[in-house]
């Protein structure tokens, strides 16, 4: 069953086509990886799905309803949450209060919001930081906090934008376990990641973007063996050869 799908979704920035007619879908319970060289349009695609950019063409369908061009908070209400590539913490609030902002998405009660927030802080292993202002946390903790915050809004689909960037190897394996734990909670995941080892291990399917277009799609094994993918990542040499 398709949870989220896009049909020929397109975004242009003053003539530059950042994302060009992408068709993709995510099934319920899936971990879906999104890769591509820098500037391939991954984050742009993310921003269109989560409502930060209005697409110039195409549709986003979530749970059989069109959500194209809805504002981010409305999309969040429908059960689609995201994290940011560059963390955006509420610096002066404590870790618990940060997660409570997410928890208030589903409840108006202070007690319930606190319980939900405590649950997800515990879930990502940050209970001990609950009373600390988050600007004092390490980048690794802040990334996990962003996950807790997004999860507290009770999504069915979680969009993770490079949650492992800048983390130590220990933290990476911790976040990998977390992502699997999230899926066990029947939350599907769409993730952008540059750490290939982690992505290959976690993903059920992977989509490769290149210059805003779909280059390949398939299971991790298929992607690894795809010559076009290798070319996209190491392709500068070949391009040089063409010009000669």
């Amino acid at each position: 069953m398709k949870l989220l799908s896009t049909s020929s979704i397109t975004k242009k920035f003053q003539g530059l086509v950042a994302v060009k007619e992408i068709d993709m879908f995510i099934k319920k319970g899936e971990i879906f990886g999104l890769i591509g060289p820098n500037g391939a349009g991954k984050t742009t695609l993310f921003n269109m799905i989560s409502g930060y950019y209005r697409p110039d063409g195409g549709k986003v369908i979530y749970k059989d309803e069109e959500i194209t061009g809805l504002s981010p908070h409305k999309i969040c209400k429908r059960g689609l949450a995201r994290t940011f590539q560059i963390v955006k913490p509420f610096g002066k609030l404590s870790a618990l209060e940060n997660v409570m902002v997410g928890a208030y998405n589903r409840t108006g009660s202070y007690g319930e919001a606190t319980d939900i927030a405590l649950h997800y802080l515990d879930f990502v292993g940050l209970s001990h930081t609950r009373n600390i202002p988050v600007k004092e946390l390490t980048i690794g903790d802040q990334r996990r906090l962003e996950m807790a915050r997004a999860l507290a809004t009770r999504p069915q689909l979680l969009l993770l934008d490079e949650v492992m960037a800048g983390l130590t190897p220990t933290e990476v394996s911790m976040v990998m376990e977390l992502i699997l734990k999230v899926r066990e909670d029947s939350v599907s995941i769409l993730m952008i990641e540059h750490i290939m080892a982690a992505l290959m291990k976690l993903s059920d399917r992977i989509l490769v973007l290149h210059h805003g277009e779909m280059l390949a799609e398939g299971t991790p094994e298929e992607i690894v063996r795809n010559p076009k993918v290798a070319e996209a990542y190491l392709g500068e040499v070949d391009m040089f050869a063409d010009h000669k």
Partner: protein, 345 residues
């Protein structure tokens, strides 16, 4: 166990402290002569005005440089209704609030809808305040730049008191109520959403916060409450004119106590006003022989404070004496705080 007990003790102490402090506030005016009573009233008035500003600009982070709009509308609405139509300012005050709130929502909708943020939003509010000042200066119906002199009736039903003590109680009560309200909401969805919007709009949006909606709520509350201060001002001084109530001085007076005390904190505007009032009064009386000197010294002190206390007095206190400034979760769940436990040996 020891932990629970200490919480209980501190709550108990807080209660006594609150009662003691409350009694002082109630008894205070009876021991003061008119000069000092006036000073105290002006200090609380400044605290209230700044607290109103704090709701929208401190908590929700939408920096306003034009709170004079709401102040002036409150003052003019109740005064015109009182002078021309015989409506009691107690009623006029409410109507003034509603008018200011509606105008605030309109300004807010226009600005926020088109994503005016930060400095640009502040400039827009300043522009609106100037527009209103110019309109009222040239509007014969409200007597233009001549201003309006309120008739002296001395009747409490018309919000006039022969004994200034009652003005003191009036402004004290609304200040306490507003501060209590801020203290209360800082734990609720409303308060956390305000702060979340201030700290990071995009992140708040991603977590389901309707940014426009909550910004307008903050602005609406702030505008309505600021209008009350306008009515109070008119009833206290018996005279208003466009410059006095729509001038940029009003907007600045709403901002400075909060900045000195600590923007976005419950006690900041109050502490700021209580610190500033004696400074401003002392410089004024001590330097009375040198015209304009008091303002120079006052300005100098402001600069020093801003350089050395960039987060205000409250920021200084929180940075140097960190206490439980965040929601203390132990109170709700009864869980022991492992980090704060002392080792057994």
């Amino acid at each position: 166990m020891g932990h629970t007990k200490s919480i209980f003790r501190s709550k108990f102490n807080m209660l006594y402290f609150g009662l003691f402090f409350g009694l002082i506030l109630v008894a205070l005016p009876w021991g003061l002569n008119t000069y000092y009573l006036n000073l105290v009233i002006m200090a609380i008035f400044g605290a209230y005005l700044s607290q109103c500003w704090n709701v929208m600009s401190g908590y929700a982070g939408q920096f306003s440089f034009g709170h004079a709009v709401f102040f002036g509308l409150g003052a003019y609405t109740s005064t015109v209704l009182f002078v021309d139509f015989g409506v009691s300012p107690w009623v006029g005050m409410i109507i003034g609030s509603i008018v200011a709130c509606l105008v605030g929502l309109l300004i807010g909708y226009l600005s926020f809808r088109y994503h005016l943020k930060g400095h640009y939003f502040a400039l827009a509010t300043l522009a609106f305040a100037e527009i209103f000042r110019v309109i009222f200066t040239n509007w014969p119906f409200v007597k233009g730049s001549m201003g309006i002199l309120l008739p002296l009736t001395g009747k409490p039903t018309q919000m006039q008191f022969e004994n200034k003590v009652y003005y003191y109680y009036l402004i004290l009560i609304i200040t306490v109520l507003l501060t209590g309200f801020l203290k209360y909401i800082s734990k609720t969805r409303l308060g956390l959403y305000f702060i979340a919007i201030r700290e990071n709009e995009d992140a708040a949006d991603a977590l389901g916060v309707d940014i426009l909606h909550y910004k307008l709520i903050a602005l609406g509350i702030s505008a309505a409450l600021t209008a009350l201060a306008g009515t109070f001002y008119a009833q206290y001084f018996y005279y208003i004119d466009p410059h006095l109530v729509f001038g940029s001085e009003v907007s600045i007076n709403a901002i400075i106590p909060a900045i000195i005390g600590g923007v976005g904190t419950v006690w900041g505007p109050i502490i700021g006003s209580l610190v500033l009032m004696p400074i401003s009064e002392l410089t004024r009386t001590l330097l009375a022989d040198y015209s304009g000197m008091n303002l120079m010294v006052y300005g100098l002190i402001l600069m020093i404070v801003i350089i050395y206390l960039p987060e205000g007095v409250m920021g200084f206190i929180q940075n140097h004496f960190p206490t439980k400034k965040h929601i203390d979760i132990e109170l709700q769940t009864g869980k022991e705080d492992i980090e704060s436990e002392t080792p057994l040996n």
